[in-house]
Symmetry: C2
Subunit: 208 residues, 2 copies
Amino acid sequence: MTRSPSSSNPDASVRLGRPPKLDDARARILAEAAALFAEQGYETSSLSELAARLGLTKPAIYHYYSSKQDLFDAVILETLTGLVANVEEALADTTGPCEKLRRFMVGHARYFAGHRDGFVTMLVGFGGMKNTEFREDSLVLRRRYEQLLRDIVSEGVETGAFRQVDPVVTARAILSMLSWMVRWFQPSGGKTAEEIALEYVELLALER
Amino acid sequence: MTRSPSSSNPDASVRLGRPPKLDDARARILAEAAALFAEQGYETSSLSELAARLGLTKPAIYHYYSSKQDLFDAVILETLTGLVANVEEALADTTGPCEKLRRFMVGHARYFAGHRDGFVTMLVGFGGMKNTEFREDSLVLRRRYEQLLRDIVSEGVETGAFRQVDPVVTARAILSMLSWMVRWFQPSGGKTAEEIALEYVELLALER
DNA sequence: CCATTTACTTTCCGACCAGTCAGTATATAA
DNA sequence: TTATATACTGACTGGTCGGAAAGTAAATGG
């Protein structure tokens, strides 16, 4: 996603015909790191084990990422970026707050189901509360995401499509329900994440 | 709360007049451990630092708790026990699902606000998902707590006091909202935890 | 007064881990 | 051919941490 070892060749991956090996390796490490962090948590995961899983050695990882924390941040940033982009795309060309809200929640659930490792890492991976202040870009994305939801609720209330609820409280409640899924959702258990999101939409019954 | 070093004197703390020093020390360690775990997370917290904060040495802690994990489990069990007891007490002699639901949610929020360290340790302290299976007694309490809420919702739906919602989905949604508070609630910021719980009650608008 | 238990302390160990360093093989570029 | 960047590896280090061993001082109890 981002380039950490400053390559002297600007934009190598643009020229087609030659495989962008560096980004491939970076992406592979990132995916495996997300899986490991999701399984064991950040602190309990060791870079030696990550390397072993990848069939690499520890210093090989340091060739692509400058620190363990850097790797962690990259997992979160990638997940968050993908989530926001995906949901915003699901919302494109949609009119009406009812449909928008449904698409937001279902879109979130779908992206979550497809990127559980990243979500688990992002939402429960780090013990303790100090680290909640991530890098600046993550924070910006989080705020944009929550604001997007608030705006949908606001629109619904103002146009009379929704009952009179507080957009701030409502958005936070919705994100709480969706975020907490990370703690109990099992893909093997009956309902899909999207189905659960739809159940939440019905429960809220914002439309009137 | 529980006794781990099997004391030859059965029920020492019952006889008044003599201070129950052992339980005092255990409680002091437990409280400080909860605070430390809440601040830094379980894995990042070291028993040396815990000992230093208490003005003790590391082995002194091992005199009262058999392992770091034991200490962690004790924090969670105490928090969960207190939460369930407190909410059940708040519900006692209450008739009507509307009032019960309000008391459940506000009672939860109040106990959370008064025991944040324990809550943070319990809900975000451990990175990774493997450890979600706690000791058996914790699991029993969790289930009892969720069932309690489900029963309230069921009663409301059956008596016609609430609109037609799914009790399982609704209970999970409510617990999600309340649990996620641990991630963003700040006592310094305007609203109290109880006020937020009441906002959630209104948002749900289960009464009809 | 003595025996036992409680409540610790000092010392230490084995394991592990993030990160470093020095070096190597390969591919590309001039 | 030579120079340079890439993509690594093996060996190592400095530090930390959970936990154990062994001993001590004080209180308790008969």
